[in-house]
Structures are given as structure tokens and as C-alpha cells.
């Protein structure tokens, strides 16, 4: 946990509590992308020992916050909602960046940060149990369907990439059809599950049964991204599951580098 050494680098808070467990690779990924990352236990936010406003980006890592008991992400979200929701809202309004992967996406949904069509941080969607009713750990193909959000700016539209997934609750369900339409109309879908040829098909290429094969969603203004796959686990291309077959692309890095570039330009 280094901090304050590189004063002019974008500062990123990787939030943690018992059960979150991607914080180390998230920390390393942000650092590798040129940010000054720090792992912050949410207790320190709750007790006001640390403040979100010190940071330029927040990362909600994957894992099983509080065991994922009740519902994935629910306990972490309800703690944050009860204590620092106002700070998070200000953070979003300031145009700073927030990203959540896997359990982090679940937390963003439970916090109402995604999709937040209504603008008042109500819960408008859920990530329900995979239709296969089992934990799925494997690599999936994804199509980039939006590259205006800072995390995705280094990709081409319709680019097919590969990322690992590992989750039990990833089935994206919006509250109603209208919301889903709003999400599409506002170009908020960031990534979709596809087959190797880029076609949208069902299981197993869509590992959880998400509507419209949605794998990741950006906020309307683009500064919040939630996704089920794990870019932080493949920052290093040699952790991409099929690299020995000569498929050596740096997909994971591009998420973080895009974000860091954006922060460097903007702040």
C-alpha cells in the first residue's frame, strides 16, 4: 500500500472489505497503467479517516464482499449507501471515474450507480444467479459496443476481445423494458458476450443468461463502468488463458490505460 509518492499521478482508491479479493491485481493494474493506487478498507471511509474526494477514480474489485451472502454485493453496497453515498454522488457529478468488475459491478448496481436512468440512484437493475445455476470460471469472448466511455476508449467499436470471468451471479436484469430501451438508446451497453465470430448467441458463450447478452454497462455520462469480466486479471497478457497459442494481446491493460489517459487529460 504505497501512497503519496507520485503526487501528480491520478489517484485511485481500490476499495476493500472482508471478502473482496481482487484488490491486489486491481492495485497492480492501476499502478501498471500509471496511476497512484491505494487499497482502502471501507471502514476508513465509514469512520471518515479517509475521504473519497482525495481520489480521481474508485475501483470496486471483484470477490465476495461479506461473503456475498444475502445477494452479491448487497452488504457492501448497503454499508456504503448508509455512510458515504453523498460523497459517491459528488464523485460521479465531478466527472471522476468509477469502475467495478464482477462483485464490483454487483456493488455498483446495488448502489444504483448503474444504470441510474432516473438520475436518483435508485436500484434499477439486478445481477441475478446465472441461469446455469453454477459458478462459471472460464474465458469469454466480448464485443465492444461503446468506446466513448473512458475505460473503453482504447478499443475499436465491434472489436472482439477475450477476458476471464468467474462468477455465480452475473445475469443482468433491468427493472423493466423501458429501462432496457433507455440503456440501449443512450448507448450505455459497453460490452456484450459473443461467440468467437462476434455473433450474439446463448449459453455457453453468454455464461449467465444476461438480457441482450450484456456483460458491461456504462453510465449515461460514461464515467462509471460496471462489468462482469475481469480486465484486472489479464493486465499481463501472459495471464490470458490462450496466450500459448500465440494469442498475445493486452486487452486487460487497455481498460486501465484508457482511464488513466482520460484522467491525465481532464484533471
Amino acid at each position: 500500500m504505497e501512497g503519496g509518492v507520485y503526487l501528480n499521478l491520478p489517484k485511485v482508491a481500490v476499495l476493500t472489505m472482508e471478502g473482496t479479493n481482487n484488490e491486489e491485481e486491481a492495485f497492480q493494474s492501476w499502478r501498471g497503467a500509471g496511476a497512484n493506487a491505494e487499497i482502502i478498507h471501507i471502514k476508513k471511509l465509514e469512520n471518515k479517516i479517509r475521504k473519497l474526494e482525495e481520489f480521481d477514480a474508485i475501483f470496486f474489485p471483484g470477490g465476495f464482499s461479506a461473503g456475498d451472502y444475502v445477494r452479491a454485493g448487497a452488504i457492501m453496497a448497503s454499508r456504503l449507501r448508509a455512510t458515504v453515498m453523498r460523497d459517491i454522488e459528488n464523485f460521479v457529478d465531478a466527472g471522476k471515474l468509477i469502475m467495478g468488475s464482477c462483485n464490483g459491478f454487483q456493488v455498483l448496481i446495488e448502489l444504483g450507480l448503474i444504470p441510474n436512468i432516473g438520475g436518483d440512484y435508485e436500484r434499477e437493475a439486478a445481477l441475478a444467479t446465472n441461469l446455469s445455476n453454477r459458478f462459471e470460471a472460464r474465458t469469454v469472448y466480448l464485443k465492444i459496443t461503446n468506446n466513448t466511455c473512458p475505460f473503453l476508449r482504447k478499443f475499436r467499436i465491434n472489436q472482439i476481445i477475450r477476458l476471464p470471468i468467474a462468477h455465480f451471479e452475473g445475469r443482468f436484469i433491468p427493472a423493466n423494458e423501458d429501462l432496457l430501451e433507455e440503456i440501449s438508446n443512450n448507448n450505455m451497453i459497453g460490452l456484450k458476450y459473443v461467440d468467437p465470430y462476434g455473433k450474439e448467441v446463448g449459453y455457453p458463450w453468454n455464461p449467465n443468461g444476461s438480457v441482450l447478452n450484456i456483460a458491461g454497462v456504462c453510465s449515461k455520462s460514461g464515467n462509471v463502468l460496471g462489468l462482469m469480466p475481469h480486465p484486472e486479471r489479464v493486465f499481463n497478457k501472459y495471464t490470458q488463458s490462450d496466450w500459448p497459442r500465440g494469442n498475445e494481446e493486452d486487452y486487460g491493460q487497455l481498460f486501465f490505460k484508457g482511464a488513466v489517459d482520460y484522467l491525465n487529460e481532464k484533471f
Binding site: R81, A126, A128, T129, R171, P174
Partner: protein, 76 residues
């Protein structure tokens, strides 16, 4: 006071666990079973007498209104 909070999926949300239990029961030969849905119960012991607290717990923690329904009952 003791209260039970029962959280289930809304009827229009597919219940993956229910489906897989149904499948397993059929595999065990119980063809008479036609549907299974699942839910979660929280047995809560607390001071006071205000059942509405239960709904607060649902709202703040135990349920996501997009997919869940909540029932709160006193356990005597």
C-alpha cells in the same frame, strides 16, 4: 420479538436454482413435481415490537426490488 423475513424472486424472474432442483427431482423419478421456486428466510431476534423494521431490513439490505419480493411475519 422474533420476526421471519422471506425473500423470494418475483414471479417473472427466472429462478435458476428452482429449475435445477426441479430437474434433479425429475431425475430422481419424482415426475409428479411440476414446479419449484426458491426463497430465503431470515430468522431475526430483536428488541422492540415494530414489525415495520423488517421491511426496512428488506429495503436496505435483504432484497433488491428489481427482482425480489419480501414478506415479513412475526414468529410466535
Amino acid at each position: 420479538m422474533k420476526i421471519n423475513i422471506i425473500v423470494t424472486l418475483k414471479d417473472n424472474v427466472e429462478d435458476a436454482e428452482g429449475q435445477s432442483v426441479l430437474k434433479a427431482l425429475h431425475l430422481l423419478g419424482y415426475d409428479e413435481v411440476s414446479n419449484v421456486r426458491t426463497g430465503k428466510v431470515y430468522y431475526i431476534e430483536m428488541k422492540g415490537n415494530d414489525l415495520s423494521k423488517g421491511y426496512e431490513f428488506c429495503d436496505k439490505l435483504l432484497a433488491n426490488p428489481v427482482i425480489n419480493k419480501c414478506k415479513v411475519e412475526r414468529d410466535d
